[in-house]
Symmetry: C2
Subunit: 200 residues, 2 copies
């Protein structure tokens, strides 16, 4: 589109190349940049490069971090006996935001998916086993992959691999979402919610 | 939030400071940056700085551009006799996208709003008059400010100021939006649509 705005158009294109950013929204963001102070603009620009250059995987849990060992793994007040296995770093972010879990994590960086050519070697299962062997005090592994076909298969695969270690292997609970209505829940969820019913 | 992701968290904060970007969406964008190639990341980062540093106002129409005169004003194939007066550069972007107008523009960079302390001097009305005097061949000025109280007041103010120039002063048409339904239109819009009815 010939907007006649050169650099601004290039910036809008950059924003529009990101997931979930429409052309219209990209222009909104580009116009927003012009309203900022110079140091704010430099800070956004630098943060993009810094995040790309400094982010690596934690030696223990494989989550993204700037350090050799991330701040969760190096936090002595966290429960070392529990490891919550998740698919992506964004799941760690979501769980941390809930303030409901105070153990450690392990990030698989994917799920088993033969259709997409993702086998056990593409995931960080080797690193999980190494961590369990080295740590020594892990008592429970919570498998918190998504309740999808791939998430389920990956949880079962990891559970099988970890059986020889004699750990308490658990899976996050299925059920009706809090605040939702039973009429809108799918039949498999309702089945699981009835199977996993609790005494009150 | 202690996500333990240092630089990545700073980047997510930068994204979240932009309008319309939630914390969750900001993290999605931050994780997306990590999946790019280095030159793509550098290009995004540079485009932000370049847009901020190179963007100025066109000497003629006051729209954002990298040059002294923007590519629309310097395009000899555009109709020099028409000037479409809009509120913001984003309106030029919207109008250009429709491929319905081939004249030139004038960007006011705001609307009259006594409540917010915006008077005629804060807008580029002086530059519009200068342009009309210097150009010499402008025959029509289309007032395309938004159909809001401020947009209407600004259009009337500009029209009054331009009266001595003996130009054809027009206002964009009001009416029912194409594709919408009459039952959902507000009463003022319906009134305008009936007033401005056309022969078929």
């Amino acid at each position: 589109m010939a907007s006649g705005m050169g650099s601004l158009e290039n910036l809008a294109r950059s924003f529009a190349s990101m997931p979930g950013v429409s052309t219209k929204f990209a222009w909104k963001l580009a116009f927003h940049i012009l309203t900022l102070k110079k140091d704010e603009v430099l800070s956004i620009s630098n943060n993009i490069i810094k995040a790309f250059e400094n982010t690596k995987r934690c030696n223990i849990c494989q989550n993204f971090t700037d350090e050799e060992v991330c701040s969760i793994c190096s936090n002595e007040s966290r429960d070392k006996s529990k490891v919550c296995v998740v698919q992506y770093p964004k799941d760690v972010f979501t769980l941390e935001r809930c303030n409901a879990y105070f153990g450690r994590y392990h990030v698989l960086h994917g799920l088993l998916s033969p259709a997409e050519g993702v086998g056990p070697k593409q995931l960080t299962i080797k690193e999980l086993i190494k961590n369990i062997k080295q740590n020594g005090c892990i008592k429970e592994v919570i498998l918190a992959t998504n309740p999808t076909v791939e998430g389920e298969a990956t949880a079962m695969y990891v559970a099988n691999i970890l059986k020889p270690f004699n750990l308490n292997l658990t899976r996050i609970a299925y059920g009706i979402s809090v605040g939702s209505e039973i009429q809108y829940a799918d039949s498999v969820t309702i089945l699981k919610a009835i199977e996993n019913r609790n005494k009150i």
